[in-house]
């Protein structure tokens, strides 16, 4: 297994006390696979991806868990070892490309920095490789772009430069944290297909983080649905989309406008009523219980364990998984 996260629990110390940002998050990522994290804001998607770099804010507390990269726990590595892995074996693309590039340096310098630091390339090699990377990410006239500063680039172009930096050292894992949220829809499509293409060509594993289930479904092999810092459902993308087992996944799917194109005008999109629980005052039992239309008595009282369904390659954190109950009822 290339990357394996086991029972990761992370707290944040805040002025309102210690809040649990991640609870018992586990997932695996194999070579060449693409995994999608879906969930609302605050569900722990970004915290999980930053945790893989061990770059959480200083008020984060690791309660339990390990992050195994090629069998070694990243959280136990020395700072120097982590720096060797960051950007070289595991690289990240951020949500807002315009602010993720350093405004004081040229495109060439910023990509070159990664190359010299990790690969120790010579000056002329850096120039060559930078040009190669820029054309690989589909930037027209790379030669002319070398000396540009980030403020001279559009959002889509900046994100392409970010991607070029991220793939500079042929990383084994590429984490894209909402890579298209700040971009408009046409650019979004281009960037996503670029990521897919690069993943196939460079044989990378990809973690795609998004709140948009549609984006995730189209671009990943497997999906991990998160809610309030917990993983509620994991499974193959196709399977999850066609037959969601967790009520939250079902709710998310029903919210997708694309599924309702045949509805008459004036049709109101369904929503998941209620709001995400305040992480400082979590519900006792199932985190979704107050918003769940299927809830039973014990949902509100007992913490829900994750159920493995090996036949469907699915893990669900629910007492009453949807399809299973349907099977029973029919």
């Amino acid at each position: 297994m290339l990357l394996e996260v086991r029972n990761l629990s992370i707290d944040f110390k805040t002025s309102r006390g210690q809040i649990q940002a991640l609870r018992d998050v586990s997932f695996q990522l194999s070579q060449g696979e693409s995994l999608g994290f879906v969930g609302e804001s605050g569900s722990g998607k970004s915290v999980t991806s930053l945790a893989i770099f061990d770059l959480l804010a200083s008020n984060a507390v690791l309660r339990s868990g390990e992050i195994l990269f090629q069998g070694r726990d990243i959280l136990k590595m020395s700072e120097a070892e982590k720096q060797k892995i960051r950007g070289k074996d595991i690289a990240m693309i951020f949500q807002d490309p315009m602010t993720s590039l350093n405004p004081s340096f040229t495109v060439e310098y910023q990509i070159g920095e990664v190359l010299t630091e990790h690969l120790g390339l010579e000056k002329h090699q850096v120039r060559e490789r930078t040009l190669e990377l820029l054309s690989l990410v589909g930037i027209p006239d790379p030669q002319a772009r070398l000396k540009t500063y980030p403020h001279e680039l559009s959002g889509g172009m900046s994100q392409r430069v970010m991607i070029a930096m991220a793939i500079a050292c042929n990383p084994k894992v590429l984490i894209a944290d909402e890579p298209t949220t700040a971009l408009d829809v046409t650019i979004q499509k281009q960037i996503l297909s670029l990521l897919g293409k690069l993943r196939r060509e460079l044989k990378m594993s990809l973690i795609l983080v998004s709140h948009d289930l549609g984006v995730i479904a189209q671009n990943t092999d497997r999906i991990m649905v998160m809610y309030a810092g917990e993983v509620v459902e994991t499974g193959e993308s196709k399977g999850v989309i066609q037959g969601p087992m967790h009520p939250y996944t079902e709710g998310l799917l029903k919210c997708l406008p694309a599924l309702h194109v045949h509805e008459p005008a004036g049709f109101r999109l369904p929503t998941i009523s209620g709001i995400v629980p305040n992480l400082a005052e979590r519900p006792q039992g199932c985190q979704l219980a107050p918003r769940c239309q299927y809830r039973q008595k014990n949902c509100e009282q007992v913490a829900v364990p994750t159920t493995e369904l090996p036949s469907q390659k699915r893990q669900v954190r629910c007492f009453y998984p949807l399809q299973a109950s349907k099977e029973i009822s029919t």
Partner: protein
């Protein structure tokens, strides 16, 4: 750069300040060639001669002579060298140490930050001239020690500015991005973050120049700065204080020089701030 110059040009005072600073710098550099006499050349036959436009003035000594018969104009020109030199080295000193200390405080945070900033608060709490006197008293009066003393006095403001800008930059995405690409502490802060803090530093340097000159002149006036016969403006003021009524030009000219240079640097600093600091942009 073009935008900077456009904004800078709109501030007429700043342009005037820049012009005057440039002029004085040229005078300072060319002083040995421009000055009609050596700074230490004495003419025993012409003691306390008034400037050329006053009764009894001589065209040999355009701004008159002092109590030892030294040409006032030559001494002022050479004094420009000393004063600007002090200003330059003070700014160099404070910027270097201020950046290093501010960078450490801002990036490490926590206890290190608290200790450094409390030390800076203590330095700031002491009246600047008193602190400078203490430093000179410990190190002994000389030109170099003047630079050190004045430098220590203006260190806290630079440290504060650097730390504040680092704290602002620290929260920006590119810092995490840079860390996620495997950059260590030094690369993240000293190489990637620092260049983004240059604007406030440049403004501070301009004000630091004038503060440095002023403080050095004050030390010189108290006899703790440059020692005679070095033609430092503050020292010249102090030497001629006894003749304030009989030969007023001896006090007026170095005083005017200090005043004009300090005003010029302050105007320049204001202009830089207007042009570089986006928060101060009004339109």
């Amino acid at each position: 750069m073009k935008e900077f110059w456009f904004l800078f040009k709109q501030n007429k005072g700043a342009v005037a300040g820049l012009f005057f600073v440039g002029l004085v710098t040229v005078f300072a550099i060319l002083a040995p060639w421009l000055a009609p006499f050596e700074a230490t050349f004495t003419d025993p036959s012409a003691l306390r001669l008034p400037p050329v436009w006053m009764d009894g003035g001589s065209s040999t000594y355009l701004l008159g002579t002092d109590d030892l018969g030294r040409d006032q104009l030559s001494r002022l020109l050479h004094g420009a060298r000393v004063s600007l030199g002090i200003g330059f080295f003070v700014v160099l000193f404070t910027t270097f140490f201020g950046v290093v200390i501010g960078l450490i405080a801002g990036s490490l945070g926590g206890k290190v930050d608290s200790v450094i900033m409390r030390l800076m608060d203590i330095l700031m709490a002491l009246p600047s001239i008193l602190l400078a006197i203490v430093v000179v008293a410990v190190l002994g009066p000389s030109l170099l020690n003047t630079v050190i003393a004045v430098g220590i006095v203006s260190l806290p403001s630079v440290v504060r500015i650097v730390r504040a800008s680092i704290l602002v930059e620290k929260k920006k995405n590119y810092v995490v991005a840079s860390q996620s690409f495997g950059a260590g502490w030094f690369r993240v802060y000293a190489i990637n973050v620092l260049p983004n803090c240059v604007a406030p530093l440049l403004i501070q340097a301009s004000f630091g120049f004038s503060d440095g000159i002023l403080n050095a002149a004050a030390l010189g006036f108290l006899g703790l700065g440059a020692q005679p016969p070095i033609p430092e403006w503050g020292t010249m003021l102090s030497d001629s204080r006894a003749y304030i009524e009989s030969a007023s030009w001896l006090v007026t000219t170095p005083g005017l020089c200090i005043l004009l240079v300090v005003i010029a640097f302050n105007l320049l600093g204001d202009g830089l701030r207007d042009a570089l600091d986006p928060k101060a942009k009004r339109n």
